[in-house]
């Protein structure tokens, strides 16, 4: 039996992961994608296991995605949404964690508005922790589902040019993607208003990140365009004069697409602000993979939950049943 390539206890971020671990996560996710395409979308992989979705920040998409992922693995999923008041005078995170821990969950998925909250939890909990987004820090499953989507359409990530456009400063999606894409050999450029694209990002990773002032320069010749959601709720002061000006200067329009590689794909972590960071023609157009990202999100989260909450018990194949040749072949080529 092959040694498992992912034996971390938690998934807190992409920055600390090895290339082998990322590939293993993606390969596993690819295998699980198959399950969602069946009539009976359920495998017994995590039967009898409990997954808690602890959401301190409002989220429909990510929470639903984790919930569906857990249920398709036959785990019992419990959702806890804690009213999001940043200065919550109630129970501390520490006490919440201790109480949940006493109920013996097999995995805790946490979304929090403050960077480092999952790390905080990981220090005190014996259950595996999955970071479902913490402040402006990381959103590892988003980066993984983005990579899975790119791999699906471009077959590889190495050598690709990727432009990430928008509010880089406050974006955990940008950070996790920069780590993941550069680790897998892509070249990343970022662009947005000067107030939201800090110079320090140029040296965020060893490989370097190219900073562009203008969206036109950022998208020229790229294979992938990632548009970030403009998160007004995360901005404590005004970083640009108006939504209108943002839409004109930093929104993605069809003429930008013409500058990119002819087969360039467009991605967005959602939910989209139509007509602001992305025009509807592009969002609904043939280059847009926004809905593929959502589908892949379930597969990635199944893989993460499986590897953290129940992995190692048996080979993926044993729990999900016979599979198509294509996927099997892909796994073998990665050896």
């Amino acid at each position: 039996m092959m040694q498992p390539v992912f034996n971390r206890k938690h998934l807190l971020g992409i920055r600390e992961l090895e290339v082998g671990e990322i590939n293993h996560l993606l390969d596993t996710a690819e295998t699980f994608r198959d399950v969602s395409r069946r009539e009976i979308k359920k495998v017994p992989a995590l039967r009898g296991r409990t997954v808690i979705n602890l959401f301190f920040e409002p989220s429909t998409r990510t929470r639903t995605s984790f919930e569906i992922a857990a249920k398709r693995l036959s785990a019992d999923a419990v959702n806890i949404s804690v009213a999001n008041s940043s200065v919550s005078k109630g129970e501390t995170l520490l006490d919440t964690a201790r109480n949940l821990e006493a109920m013996a969950p097999d995995c805790i998925v946490i979304r929090h508005s403050m960077a480092g909250a999952p790390q905080h939890l990981a220090k005190i909990c014996s259950a595996p922790i999955v970071n479902a987004g913490d402040g402006a820090h990381e959103h590892p499953t988003q980066a993984l589902l983005d990579a899975l989507t790119i791999r699906e359409h471009k077959k590889h990530i190495k050598g690709l040019n990727v432009a990430i456009i928008g509010d880089i400063l406050h974006s955990r999606v940008a950070r996790s993607n920069i780590y993941l894409l550069t680790k897998l050999g892509a070249k990343v450029r970022i662009a947005g208003p000067g107030t939201l694209v800090p110079a320090e990002f140029a040296e965020l990773v060893e490989q370097g990140v190219r900073l562009e002032q203008r969206i036109e320069d950022a998208v020229t010749g790229v294979d992938v365009i990632m548009i970030l959601r403009l998160q007004r709720e995360r901005q404590d002061t005004a970083f640009f004069p108006s939504m209108r000006e943002y839409a004109v200067h930093y929104g993605l329009h069809p003429e930008h697409l013409a500058l990119a590689h002819p087969e360039a794909i467009v991605m967005h972590p959602g939910p989209i602000n139509r007509g602001i960071e992305i025009s509807s023609e592009i969002a609904d157009g043939s280059r847009s993979l926004i809905l593929d990202q959502v589908s892949n999100g379930v597969a990635v989260r199944m893989a993460v939950l499986y590897l953290l909450a129940g992995g190692g018990r048996s080979e993926v194949e044993e729990v999900i049943g016979p599979k198509s040749n294509g996927k099997r072949k892909h796994r073998e080529t990665r050896g």
Binding site: V87, M114, A115, G116, Q119, G135, A136, E200, E203, L204
Partner: protein
């Protein structure tokens, strides 16, 4: 009462002494500094300082003792106990208590609590403005009469340059140094760590070095305008240091201090989101740390101060964004200063200047920072070879918030004497000095 500190190696920059001397303290004051072959008084109690360094008592210009109001974090008595265990004979208490020390009643309370504890000398610092709100001047004259040694709105720095100007002009009339925590709020608001590569990686809101540098420059410009005595607290940036260097070249009455964590750690220490790496000013990038080491070496930095800031463990157990700023520092500062000596950044004479001679001058503490005749019998006794490990759980402070738990040190305080009274001795002092004597005998 006579105490003879015998056989030690005296370092007192104020006297230009750096050699073997005995110090005689009578009734709390220095009666004499004796050469080895001078005749010793027969009726004095003898403290054997063989192989140890004897220095004028160390003075910490910057501590938060939390009393009145936040006694669950620290009291003046526990803070003073931590001070003497760390080798400090005097501490200067910042006014951001509850109520704030912006009036003589609070000043007198702090002094009384300090006297009652009978450990370190506690010198209160008064607020610059009422409630440290930055709007109206506090009663500096009345507080000075009650015993404050400086004024500061530390923690809530005076935001308006106009207000700061008035404060400097007014404080000058009472010869009070104005101590500023340099921070331009509009640049640093909401920040929880140094703004730089690490704040970007960690997704935490940063405080740019420019926030400190802009305010340090402002204060130096105002020092020129007002001719006031201005002391910049815990500077942490290259720019602030350069501002001070320039002010000194211009002959302005500007001084500054640095806190041990700022030369010891960098912003990378925040990587694991340990709230014991959250302080204000924040841990900076290596370039700034390098500038501080240069300032320690070349004399631009006048003093080492701890910014001892105790917090309850429940407060520090919050998310990084939510946890309060600050760490305790009284018991680790001297150990961290010895690191500078071992690294060749400073020598022992400079260490004593930074911890005693200069602080006494900066706050005009009469009879402190020197062992000249009639000065107070405040003495810090150090063993430069002491191999020790700091255990936060055994701290004399009420709080445990330190990034230096379990850190190993070479060199540290072994006894602290305040007005001739030994208020702290290292639990193994007898063995330590016995070892030193044996070593010396063998060498002879």
């Amino acid at each position: 009462m006579k105490l003879l500190i015998a056989n030690g190696y005296l370092i007192d920059p104020s006297l230009g002494i750096n050699g073997g001397r005995d110090v005689l303290i009578v009734d709390g004051r220095v009666a004499d500094v004796l050469e080895r072959n001078d005749s010793r008084p027969q009726d004095a109690e003898v403290f054997d300082a063989t192989g140890l360094i004897v220095a004028p008592g160390f003075i910490d210009l910057h501590v938060h003792l939390r009393e009145p109001g936040q006694e669950y974090k620290e009291t003046i008595a526990t803070g003073a106990a931590a001070a003497v265990a760390g080798g400090w004979t005097s501490v200067c208490a910042m006014p951001n208590t509850d109520p704030i020390n912006d009036n003589p009643a609070v000043t007198r309370f702090v002094i009384e609590q300090g006297e009652e504890a009978q450990l370190a000398n506690v010198f209160p610092i008064g607020a610059i403005t009422k409630q440290s709100a930055g709007k109206e001047l506090a009663e500096m004259g009345e507080m000075k009469k009650a015993g404050i040694v400086a004024v500061s709105d530390d923690g809530q720095p005076v935001p308006s340059a106009g207000m700061m100007r008035r404060a400097m002009e007014y404080a000058r009339g009472f010869n009070l140094p104005v101590v500023d925590h340099c921070q331009e709020h509009s640049l640093s608001a909401g920040g929880v760590m140094h703004e730089g590569r690490w704040s970007m990686i960690l997704g935490l809101k940063g405080m740019p070095a420019a926030a400190e540098e802009a305010d340090a420059l402002r204060d130096c410009v105002l020092a020129k305008l007002t001719k006031a005595r201005v002391h910049l607290a815990h500077i942490s940036t290259r720019g602030a240091l350069e501002a001070v260097r320039r002010a000194k070249e211009l002959g302005l009455r500007v001084t500054c201090e640095v806190a041990p964590h700022h030369w010891t750690l960098t912003d990378q220490a925040v990587e694991e989101y340990d709230t014991n790496t959250k302080m204000n000013p924040p841990l900076r990038s290596p370039d700034h740390v390098g500038a501080l080491l240069e300032g320690l070496r070349d004399g631009t930095i006048d003093a080492i101060a701890t910014d001892h800031a105790p917090h309850h463990q429940d407060e520090k157990a919050l998310e990084f964004d939510q946890a309060p700023f600050g760490i305790i520092g009284l018991e680790t500062a001297v150990g961290l200063a010895f690191d500078l000596v071992h690294q060749g950044v400073i020598d022992l004479v400079r260490l004593v200047q930074l911890c005693s001679t200069n602080p006494a001058q900066i706050f005009s503490l009469a009879g402190r920072g020197s062992l000249r005749r009639d000065a107070w019998g405040d003495v810090t006794i150090l063993d430069p070879e002491l191999d020790w490990t700091f255990e936060a759980s055994r701290s004399r402070s009420k709080s445990r918030n330190t990034p230096f738990d379990k850190r190993r040190f070479t060199g540290g305080p072994v006894a602290t004497i305040v007005a001739g009274k030994t208020v702290y001795v290292h639990p193994k002092l007898k063995e330590i000095t016995a070892g030193k004597r044996a070593e010396l005998a063998q060498r002879r």
